[in-house]
């Protein structure tokens, strides 16, 4: 047994990635996720509108530290409040007047619950209205995010396994010498996964809508564009992982390292507003964060494109960057030495 233990330790020592996974990553994960994994709402971006913005505010005054006023508009109306919540500029909008109405963004479920608890102690005559997700259904906010998670899993893990398999079995060398353009190899390799991803996107959306009764209020086109952009990012991650992995085991390790932060930090489970700024910036670097914003906007808020321009733009940039990097790295494995015809080649 001693020999066996010694052998395992020797092999483990040489497998630096696994050692990193076992030692360094847990510390990083614990620290980051310890801060991120919080349902406690310490700050709720709040808008105050209407003629009485300067007077005592029945909700904000209850906990001025929590209800952070981010927008004040004496001329604002109920429609403006609706737009502010839809565009994600505030989670609570208080429209002063007669009667005073507190609008709450139901897609920010924890912030909404916190606000509703405060609303219980509001004076008579103050009306509270939850928008977009009036029943505060968890399924309504989770399903749009879970679509992203499934796409990430299919796109990243399955693609990386499919590509790294060629390397592990030595067939990538075969592909490199075949008279195929690197572009053809890459597109041919990715196309089936892309189609499977599209099928998954449609399938899980339909199942989500039917099984969990999640409303779909927005544009199908915006949904499709968001889904396809995110699929490109996921496929790009998959190819990228495969170019730095020698085996399917390594690819799975890396895919998990790419996926776990996205699940925990994207706002899919834990609200971004609960995360300290030191962790929240990581969320803003993750594509799932923007996908979740787009999908919740499309499914629940019927958000127009104008209110989701930034997430679409960032997701597009990420898709282009990740996919281009992936293709370039994969191409490096396949690129011929530049022969043309029966030319003689002299390399430096």
């Amino acid at each position: 047994m001693k020999a066996m233990i010694l052998k395992e330790f020797r092999q483990l020592r040489r497998d630096r990635r696994t050692v990193a996974m076992l030692v360094a990553i847990p510390i990083v994960l614990l620290t980051v996720f310890g801060y991120a994994a919080s349902f406690d709402i310490e700050r709720i971006p709040t808008a105050v509108l209407g003629p009485a913005v300067g007077t005592t505010n029945p909700l904000v005054d209850t906990q001025p530290d929590v209800f952070e006023i981010v927008h004040v508009d004496p001329a604002g109306t109920a429609d403006d409040a609706h737009d502010l919540l839809r565009d994600g500029k505030a989670i609570i909008a208080v429209v002063t007047g007669t009667p005073t109405t507190v609008y709450v963004d139901g897609t920010e479920i924890f912030a909404a619950q916190s606000a509703l608890r405060q609303a219980g102690s509001l004076p008579d005559g103050v009306r509270v209205e939850v928008l977009f997700n009036p029943e505060l259904s968890t399924a309504n906010i989770m399903v749009p995010g879970l679509i992203g998670f499934v796409l990430l899993a299919v796109g990243t893990i399955i693609t990386s396994l499919g590509v790294v398999k060629e390397r592990a079995e030595g067939t990538i060398e075969q592909l490199a010498v075949l008279p195929l353009k690197p572009r053809d190899v890459i597109l041919g390799k990715i196309a089936p996964y892309f189609l499977v991803g599209v099928l998954d996107l449609v399938l899980i959306t339909v199942v989500g809508l039917l099984l969990f009764d999640v409303p779909f209020r927005g544009s199908i086109l915006m949904f499709a564009v968001g889904g396809l952009l995110f699929l490109f990012v996921a496929l790009g991650f998959g190819v990228l992982i495969s170019t730095v992995s020698q085996s399917q085991g390594e690819a799975i390790q890396l895919a998990i390292m790419v996926m776990v932060p996205q699940i925990l930090l994207s706002g899919m489970i834990f609200p971004l507003t609960s995360m300290p700024l030191g962790v929240r910036w990581i969320s803003y670097c993750l594509p799932l964060t923007y996908f979740v914003q787009i999908m919740r906007g499309v499914f629940l808020k019927a958000a127009p494109f104008a209110s989701l321009t930034i997430p679409y733009l960032i997701l597009t940039l990420m898709a282009v960057a990740v996919f281009a990097l992936a293709v370039l790295r994969f191409r490096r494995d396949l690129a011929p030495t530049g022969r043309r015809g029966a030319a003689e080649e002299v390399a430096a």
Binding site: G170, E173, Q174, V177, L178, P336, A342, E344, V346, A347
Partner: protein, 266 residues
């Protein structure tokens, strides 16, 4: 047209895998590259096949669609059937009638009854034969085979060499690497590699004649550092020659040349 490499040097970090090696591959000829493990055979063949590896020296090869290459490992897609493997390779090489091109090769290699079988379910020898058939499907001008017979049973080895011979007869320049020196006797020319360097090159007769000194067969060698067992007896390299010297085999030349190289470098 003669293909090949001239003064090829390949370095991986501080390790020199191939140093100043030249190799000519002519149509209708089989050129063998022989050497032990780590001699640089695979690197040499990979550069010739056009796999992107940083190197010095010149490489002359036909365009990619006129090259057939079987790597040392793999060469077939395990989760495709024999027919699907050939369909993919033939499609990539734009072979007009893949079935017609494959039929005689499948017959010759005994693979014809197994076209519906997954490549991963074939024996090692049959998989290597399938890889060679795939590389020959488009009648390449340059056929590069990296140790096609390693780990293959004698019958399949014989089949493979018949296939290699047929490719050369058909006009291809064939470059084949092997660790089995007896096989190299079948080649038109032999290049002996040792630790990345070309020790000797020429026809098998020329290579045998290039032996420095003699090889003797003895029961007890005078110098064990220059001797190796063959059956119950020893073969010993005598650098200064011996009247008892026997006709050397290619294996003798390879070992003796390696010993001479090592002694010279001390």
């Amino acid at each position: 047209m003669t293909w090949g490499v001239e003064h090829l040097t390949v370095r991986f970090g501080h390790t020199t895998a191939v140093e100043d090696v030249s190799l000519a591959a002519e149509p209708h000829r089989v050129s063998a590259v022989v050497g032990g493990d780590g001699a640089g055979k695979t690197t040499l063949l990979r550069v010739l096949a056009g796999i992107p590896i940083r190197h010095e020296g010149s490489v002359t090869a036909p365009e990619r669609r006129r090259i057939g290459y079987v790597p040392a490992a793999g060469g077939v897609f395990d989760d495709l059937t024999v027919a699907e493997n050939l369909s993919f390779t033939g499609g990539a090489y734009r072979v007009p009638d893949i079935a017609a091109a494959a039929a005689p090769l499948l017959e010759r290699t005994g693979l014809a009854p197994f076209t519906g079988r997954l490549a991963g379910d074939l024996s090692g020898g049959m998989r290597r034969k399938l890889a060679v058939v795939g590389a020959m499907l488009h009648s390449p001008d340059l056929l590069i085979l990296d140790e096609p017979t390693t780990g293959v049973d004698p019958v399949s080895r014989s089949d493979l060499w018949r296939l290699i011979g047929a490719a050369a007869t058909g006009g291809a320049a064939v470059v084949v690497s092997s660790a089995y020196l007896d096989e190299s006797e079948r080649a038109s020319s032999v290049t002996v590699l040792h630790r990345g360097r070309s020790l000797v090159a020429g026809t098998p007769d020329e290579v045998r004649a290039s032996l420095p000194g003699s090889v003797v067969v003895v029961d007890e060698p005078a110098d064990r550092s220059r001797a190796w067992r063959q059956g119950r007896r020893w073969r010993e390299w005598v650098p200064d020659g011996s009247p008892d010297g026997v006709a050397p085999t290619l294996e003798d030349v390879l070992i003796a040349a390696g010993l001479a190289e090592e002694e010279a470098s001390r």
